[in-house]
Amino acid sequence: MAFLEIDGLRKRFGQVEILKGIDVELEKGGFLVLVGPSGCGKSTLLNTIAGLETITSGEIRVDGRAINDLHPSKRDIAMVFQSYALYPNMTVAGNISFGMEMRGVPAAERQKAIDKVAKVLQIGHLLQRKPSQLSGGQRQRVAMGRALVRDPKLFLFDEPLSNLDAKLRVDMRIEIKRLHATTGTTIVYVTHDQIEAMTLATKIAVMRDGEVQQFGTPAEIYNNPTNLFVADFMGSPAMNLIPATIGTNGNALSVVLQREAREPINLPMANAPAGLSAFQGKPIIFGVRPEALTDPEGAERNASNIATADCHIEVVEPAGSDTFAVTNLGGKGVVARLRADANIQPGTSTPLAFNLTKAVFFDPATENRIR
């Protein structure tokens, strides 16, 4: 039996149904990351788990026990709010220790815990300030501190790092990972950061409009998206989803990509998924991630199925560690990720290598994956 089980959870605000039957299970010590477009219901889901919103129907069980009717203060949950929700009348130290105080932890112990967490979060010098005297990131860290200082059954984090600088965010991410590894607590975590999602999660739930689109391990989600939405949503820059048709190339299938003012590209598929043959001659969506579409020098040397094609480069976007190039295929802008030093000019033609082992295909009608 899983530790956290959510069964057919529904929630309406007035007329609008915000959560439309969520089913999720998380093992003890698991790390569930909720991702999804803004407004899809992630915060609402966390709130229902915490007991801060009533649910319309469905059940939430923790450790086999239904907690639907349990008061939030009895659920033994720590939560970081997206809006911080710091107590304006208390100092940072007061904010952090409030939860412990409520649970009757002795003062000396509280002080120790505050000091420890303040060190981790680098807010030691702010302990005596009021929230109104803090910067955005500092507030967020205090909100984190309030959760981390406790030892609950379940952590709920709602975009806890969104206002931190990249460096601190990495530090905090590692800190959360360490917390998770050492204490083995169970965590539900909302983030918009791909890296956070991929590196922290043991399970990811991709949500959309109050429904879970795919629920699986990070690798499953990244490499085997079940539908167009998940494929499009996960990964940054996003997967290129190119309208294409399936042709034949000898007795193997091939993917035909239209180009502007040039003959189409015909990519031979060495090991196409079984379902693809049914689409011969029909339109499909061809999905390839930017990192699987690169300059031949940058391409993986031992990938089994690489096809190279000349592409017209429209935009070049150097981004420090990489350079992104945009070409046009199948009527859409397609992003390729090249090495940072790739010597490439907008307006020129350049051969790009397609790593077809990584390609995925979708049925444009159902938007589902063709397997």
């Binding site: 949950i77 720590a78 304006p88």
Partner: protein, 314 residues
């Protein structure tokens, strides 16, 4: 470095406008201060005049021969009924009654406001509406039924006294007044707090719930510390209303020992015949109002700006 000194001068046009603005604002404030102070001024100068000067002089003129006697008389000599020991003795009666009444009604109001905004239940609005409308009941028409009930409670108190040994304050005029003022005060206190808490971020209550705080802990630790301005307003309101109440005070506690300040003051001021000692009356009135004035000045300091600033996004 030169940049540090120049800007103020460069933008002097803006500065001028600012200064004019300030002058206008302070001017208006001062003007209104005059308006508000006028009667106080009249009362003050009168309280330092002799009766001759009051009868023959201009009401607004400063006292020609200021005398402190009226104050001394009001404090320690003037007659309230048949006892001529000034009004000093009635402070304690009023304070004994006002302080508990204010505290109880304010706390109840705060709790009610808290429940009505942060723990909404079906019908909460109706309950609030009913309590609100209660503010409008004319006190004249509750005077008698309330007296009847208080009388019965008093008799019950005597029974208790005889059987249990304590009356739990039932029948005690001070307790009666506290009760009456609480009953007719909670409508307002609830209104004040409910409307203030309406804008109070619910997120904070949620956060505290997650932190394990109970209903009352949230109230005490989160709501109350953030309610200072409205607390001040409510206390001021209740304090003045209860302190200045005459109707209930005279009806339920007019009897010597428990007589509150207003009844005493009224007995000083509203003498039916005889020469009206305006100077003593004014002095007495000001002495009687001292606690309220004190509350205003002290409480006013707790109007602090920006309690909530930056607590919550959106």
């Amino acid at each position: 470095m030169s940049a540090v000194t120049t800007p103020a001068r460069q933008a002097s046009g803006g500065v001028n406008v600012k200064i004019i603005n300030r002058i206008v604002i302070y001017g208006l404030l001062a003007l209104f201060a005059l308006f508000y102070l006028m009667p106080l001024f009249v009362m003050l100068v009168t309280s330092f005049k002799t009766m001759d000067e009051i009868q023959n002089g201009n009401m607004l003129a400063l006292p020609k021969a200021p005398t402190f006697d009226p104050w001394l008389k009001a404090w320690g000599e003037t007659c309230v009924g048949l006892t001529c020991a000034g009004i000093k003795g009635y402070f304690w009666n009023s304070i004994k009654m006002v302080v508990p009444a204010v505290l109880i009604s304010t706390m109840l109001g705060a709790l009610n406001g808290y429940v009505l905004t942060k723990w909404r239940f079906r019908g909460a609005t109706l309950v609030f509406g009913l309590m609100l409308f209660a503010c409008f009941i004319p006190f004249q028409s509750v005077l008698l039924p309330m007296a009847t009930i208080l009388g019965s409670l008093g008799r019950f108190g005597v029974t208790l006294q005889n059987s249990v040994g304590t009356s739990f304050g039932l029948g005690n005029p001070t307790v009666n007044l506290v009760f009456v003022h609480v009953v007719y005060g909670i409508g307002f206190t609830t209104l004040f707090f409910r409307n203030y808490y309406e804008a109070f971020p619910t997120e904070l209550v949620k956060a505290a719930q997650v932190d394990g705080a109970s209903f009352f802990q949230i109230f005490r630790r989160i709501m109350l510390p953030n309610s200072m301005p409205i607390f001040v307003v409510t206390v001021i309101y209740q304090f003045t209303n209860i302190w200045n109440d005459f109707l209930f005070a005279s009806a339920y506690a007019g009897t010597g020992d428990a007589m509150p300040m207003t009844v005493a003051l009224n007995n000083v001021v509203n003498t039916s015949t005889g020469v009206v000692e305006y100077n003593v009356n004014m002095a007495a009135a000001m002495i009687a109002a001292l606690p309220t004035l004190l509350v205003y000045v002290l409480a006013g300091r707790y109007f602090v700006r920006g309690l909530m600033a930056g607590a919550v996004k959106g």
